[in-house]
């Protein structure tokens, strides 16, 4: 049972009607509703197609945050074998908002790291809704350095509203942890690739996504600030999030034009949450392809090219 987003309300009504008809037919054997139900299905299908063909930036934010969208854990379970989680920052705690560990992608050992938001109330609280504390970034640093030491490529899956704005997080150096994680991304002599699978929220995302190659799912977002946060600062009204989402240019399509991301991975019709398997496999293919592209690069070249990529960023703006 899909959870509908506000803009999907007309679709929910049609799909609900079709469902109702079928339930009536099941209860009454003499009733034949197949024609009507098929007509409704076709109508719903067309509507879904139209709704997702040209999503506004704010609608993309909603899709990117959809609770049924595949999360880091789903990708790790489906795409990697022998996943062996590695915990802790060796300093204070293990941050459950960040998953990470050794795994194989088609037999090749890699280090996989990502934000995990959780998928029910209990796991969402445990994962802190994917908002990492300093320990999460420091765990990621530790794992990246281990990957560097043993020559394993690093794959990061980004899905976070942002770093956690909490008292303890500040006390333990949230800023320093993010800065060091970004620095580590820029230092390691192994391929580092990143896929933004949902929300790329500000510094908390940069700490993982300062990569050689960055891909984004079609309806994921990547932004310096949430549209709500931007609206409350610049419009003095958090309800202006639609305008803010528009202005921030946070969609995968705009980020590709700005050269900030390299690849946009198409999502199935109606978004990743309507066909999780297809989405996950598409991300898997992209990761494989991106990793292969580094086959002939030395560690020094990887570091040099990664730094060059970010130094060059911003030389291209959007057309008026």
């Amino acid at each position: 049972m899909t959870q509908y987003l506000d803009f999907e309300k007309p679709l929910a009504e049609i799909e609900g009607k079709a469902e109702e008809l079928r339930a009536m037919a099941r209860a009454n054997e003499e009733m034949d509703v197949s024609d009507e139900a098929t007509t409704l299905d076709a109508k719903a299908s067309k509507m879904l197609e139209d709704l997702y063909k040209d999503l506004t930036p704010w609608r993309k934010c909603q899709v990117a945050r959809h609770p049924e969208r595949p999360h880091c854990r789903d990708y790790i379970d489906a795409l990697f074998s022998e996943y062996t989680p590695l915990a802790g920052d060796r300093n204070f705690a293990d941050d459950h908002a960040v998953m990470g560990g050794l795994a194989r992608l088609n037999d090749t050992p890699v280090m996989v790291i990502g934000h995990e938001k959780g998928d029910d109330t209990k796991s969402r609280i445990e994962r802190n809704f994917g908002m990492a504390r300093p320990e999460g970034y420091r765990k990621a640093i530790r794992l990246m350095q281990m990957a560097d030491k043993f020559g394993l490529p690093v794959v990061t899956l980004v899905d976070t509203p942002g770093a956690y704005p909490g008292k303890g997080a500040e006390e333990r150096g949230q800023s320093e942890a993010i800065a060091r994680a970004t620095e580590t991304c820029l230092q390691i002599k192994v391929p580092l690739i990143s896929v933004i699978i949902g929300e790329g929220g500000s510094g908390g995302a940069v700490a993982f996504a300062t990569a050689n190659r960055i891909a984004m799912l079609e309806h994921s977002i990547y932004s310096v600030i949430s549209p709500e946060g931007c609206a409350s600062i610049l419009w003095k009204d958090a309800e202006k999030m639609r305008e803010a989402a528009e202005a921030l240019r946070l969609t995968a399509q705009d980020l590709k034009k700005l050269n900030v991301v390299d690849d946009v991975i198409p999502e199935p019709r109606g978004g990743a949450h309507r066909d999780r398997d297809t989405t996950i496999q598409a991300v898997g293919k992209t990761i494989e392809r991106m990793l292969k592209s580094f086959d002939n690069q030395s560690g020094e070249e990887l570091v040099h090219n990664r730094r060059r990529k970010f130094l060059d960023m911003g030389s291209r703006g959007l057309a008026a």
Binding site: P165, E176, A179, R180, T182, L186, S223, V224, M313, G314
Partner: protein
């Protein structure tokens, strides 16, 4: 005061005379309420002579007071794209920029300069909170990269004074990309074995703290400066409790191991001289009034002429 200061100060003062309008002769300390005479306040580097409160100081006033004899050369910063996203909130981004330029007399939120402190040549990057909250956009990123490249070229240490509300939202994702870009700049300095000292001033927050401001070899803060990733208001809204007095202030960060020192502005210059000279393995600096730098020495910077940025319309 040595003769160089006497020689340079009046000239620089005359350059700035436009901003010294009569109604600004007195300034009220926003901490203790004392009315302070502007000249006295300037001589005390905008620190309240009554309570020691550190008020904002413009990058130009800061570097003038920092460098020997107030002499420095400004380093030019590569011009980024203006308004790459065509950003518009209630105002257009270019209009906000024009207002900020008019109000500050500066082109952007960071000044890069090189000169000597206690006869120690250094490169300085100084962020300007009065320019759109010091926000980090492409220009600030370019400024830090230019400063690091100059420092590496001249083999000089770099001192960065941070002051920012965070990233410049009007540049969207490109402002966020300044976090990795400026981190690359810091790495250039580290790989060249050059000291990188960060002086965190009030306020240093958001993506600025979470990148170049927290990657220094030495972190010094001015007293009571707010230094954080998430601002106190955001945290109070998230955790729904009042934060303790002094939370995220310089002294608090010192207690929590994020800073090396908290140093009053009046002692900052001496401290930077002491630290940079030791890190560079140089003998102790000669204290007191120094004779003027020998203009034939290669390391001596040319005095800077303040010129209005080319794209600034003085009538705007």
């Amino acid at each position: 005061m040595n003769w160089i200061t006497n020689y340079v100060r009046p000239r620089i003062n005359s350059i700035f005379s436009r901003r010294e309008v009569p109604e600004n002769l007195w300034q009220k300390c926003d901490e203790c309420g004392t009315m302070l005479f502007h000249r006295e306040l300037k001589d005390n580097l905008n620190v309240c002579t009554s309570c020691g409160h550190h008020m904002a100081i413009s990058p130009r006033d800061r570097v003038e007071a920092l460098f020997d004899g107030g002499i420095y050369a400004e380093i030019s910063v590569p011009e980024p794209l203006a308004d790459p996203l065509h950003f518009r909130d209630q105002k257009k981004y270019p209009d906000r920029m024009k207002t900020a330029q008019k109000n500050t007399g500066e082109k952007e939120a960071m000044l890069v300069a090189t000169g000597e402190i206690g006869r120690t040549p250094i490169v300085v990057a100084c962020q300007d909170f009065s320019f759109m909250g010091g926000s980090m956009g492409m220009y600030v990123g370019n400024a830090i990269i230019a400063a690091a490249e100059e420092a590496v070229k001249l083999k000089r240490p770099m001192v960065l004074f941070s002051a920012a509300g965070g990233a410049r939202m009007q540049e969207g994702i490109l402002s966020l990309m300044q976090m990795p870009r400026t981190t690359v700049a810091v790495q250039m300095l580290k790989e060249a074995g050059l000291p990188y000292i960060v002086v965190l001033t009030h306020p240093t927050t958001g993506g600025v703290t979470a990148s170049y401001a927290m990657l220094g070899d030495v972190h010094i803060a001015e007293p009571n400066a707010l230094i954080c990733f998430a601002g106190p208001r955001v945290i109070e809204q998230t955790i729904r409790e009042k934060l303790p007095e002094g939370f995220q202030r310089a002294e608090y960060l010192l207690d929590h191991g994020m800073l090396d020192r908290v140093t009053p502005r009046g002692q900052m210059r001496e401290e930077l001289i002491t630290i940079t000279r030791m890190l560079l393995g140089l003998p102790p600096a000669i204290r007191g009034d120094l004779p003027p730098p020998d203009p034939t020495e290669e390391t001596v910077a040319e005095p800077v002429e303040k010129t209005a940025p080319a794209d600034l319309d003085p009538k705007a």
